[in-house]
């Protein structure tokens, strides 16, 4: 289980999260939505303990482990993986090298290169991603859609238990979105991983069906619902949903 308890955090002296709470049970898919600049992507980075953000209060707990006592790589080794909105490129470092090194460090075992390469190639086939990327520098020369697929290639090898998908649909055409969603859905069905999707547009919900949808505003979740909440947002916008939730509070 993944739990965020009363999390308050800031960056550049600006409060981003204010008593934020969230619980994701094993195997659940949650979506957090909100307008631009409200702190959705920041939440993901804070979960991964990005040094640029300061946690003032609260806890992030995964399977009983307090994540904020851990450096980023230990959080990743607990089984949490972040796929960013705009994955960076790194010259001189190939995808194969990073993944092989990560597996070797994790397991302290020798890696069979043949099996490793075969698995990478199989995942590329599933994603309809050129196998050339396996031995290319990370995301160098890759389009936005290819970068997302490369991140999913990493996911297929590192096998996380909790996926943080930050604006996954950003930069994807219809076909790429379908390929990516199919891969994630298959992975979820096979492993029963938990997923947290961050988005400002309800479109992705057509491809990956969530258990819960939350609206983030003013540093915390102001409304939670099911897929119907996405329809409300489509019809009334975030400010409309916010107004409705404030009316509810007045009553």
């Amino acid at each position: 289980m993944f739990k965020i308890v009363n999390l308050t955090a800031k960056v550049d002296n600006r409060l981003i999260l204010d008593n934020f709470n969230l619980q994701i049970n094993d195997g659940e898919i949650h979506v957090i939505m909100g307008h631009n600049g409200v702190g959705k992507s920041t939440l993901c980075k804070i979960i991964m303990n990005d040094r640029n953000y300061e946690v003032l209060n609260g806890q992030v707990i995964f399977n009983g482990v307090n994540l904020h006592e851990l450096p980023t790589y230990e959080i990743a080794r607990q089984g949490i993986m972040l796929i960013s909105q705009n994955p960076i490129s790194i010259e001189g470092v190939t995808n194969a090298e990073v993944l092989r090194t990560a597996l070797r460090e994790m397991t302290n075992e020798k890696i069979n290169i043949f099996d490793f390469n075969k698995k990478m190639e199989d995942i590329c086939d599933q994603l309809k991603l050129s196998k050339d990327f396996i031995h290319k520098d990370i995301n160098v020369g890759a389009s936005g859609g290819e970068r997302k697929k490369i991140e999913l290639l990493h996911m297929g090898i590192l096998e996380p238990k909790l996926l943080l998908l930050d604006e996954l649909d950003s930069g994807l055409d219809v076909d790429a979105m379908r390929d990516v969603a199919n891969f994630i859905n298959e992975y979820h069905n096979k492993t029963k991983c938990s997923i947290l999707i961050i988005t400002h547009h309800p479109n992705i919900i057509n491809y990956i069906k969530p258990n819960f949808i939350h609206v983030l505003d003013q540093g915390h979740i102001i409304k939670t619902g099911d897929a119907h909440l996405a329809e409300e947002i489509e019809n009334h916008g975030f400010f409309g949903v916010n107004a409705m939730s404030e009316e509810g509070q007045d009553e």
């Binding site: 991964m48 450096p71 790589y73 990743a76 080794r77 001189g92 994790m106 890696i111 290169i113 590192l158």
Partner: protein, 195 residues
């Protein structure tokens, strides 16, 4: 129009800090790859006459106080000079004096000096010197000294790589990325072996 150099020579230097002196013939292309697991004092002196192309790729690790002097004298016309330096200093002092001179009355020469260092706990001094005695030259020089990219570190750590390993990978790519695959294979890089 791209120039074609029919006379091309490549010098590959690995951990040999003997002073190097060279004169390029007219129309010659020379690539000097220098790699040092431990940089030591060294002097490189090159002369270019006419229509020659010189590339110096110099990279390595500083483990003791060092002085490196590179001096290129462009005597004629139509030459291209490119000097790339990549170095990592963890706790020592390194001085790099990189000088290219374009002499009086010379024309149509191009000069690029690109000096980069990752400095962890030492002191690096770059002196990129362009001595220009002519009005007809294209010259650029860059000198950057900094640390590892925090975003790249975070990215690699989020893929389960320990901080130590992530830093080693980034430092290695910083150094080795300067070189061609051929030279990298001479250094034992780029091979994927069954472990």
């Amino acid at each position: 129009m791209n120039k074609i150099y029919t006379d091309k020579q490549v010098f590959n230097i690995i951990d040999d800090n003997k002073d190097l002196t060279l004169s390029l013939n007219d129309g010659q292309m020379v690539v000097i790859n220098c790699f040092f697991y431990q940089i030591k004092d060294m002097n490189i002196n090159i002369e270019q006459s006419n229509n020659s192309y010189l590339v110096i790729n110099y990279a390595g690790y500083v483990h003791s106080d060092v002085n490196i002097n590179m001096d290129v004298n462009v005597l004629g016309n139509g030459n291209k000079t490119v000097i790339n330096v990549r170095t990592i200093d963890e706790k020592n002092h390194a001085n790099f004096n990189v000088s290219v001179q374009a002499n009086e009355h010379t024309i149509n020469n191009e000069i690029v000096e690109d000096l980069k260092a990752i400095n962890e706990d030492g002191t690096i001094t770059f002196m990129p010197i362009l001595k220009i005695d002519t009005n007809e030259v294209q010259a650029e020089h860059y000198a950057t000294i900094g640390g590892l990219d925090e975003k790249e570190l975070f990215y690699l750590e989020s893929k389960m790589l320990s901080t130590k390993t992530a830093k080693e990978i980034l430092k290695k790519s910083f150094i080795y990325n300067l070189f061609s695959d051929t030279f990298k294979s001479m250094l034992g890089e780029g091979k994927e072996e069954d472990e």
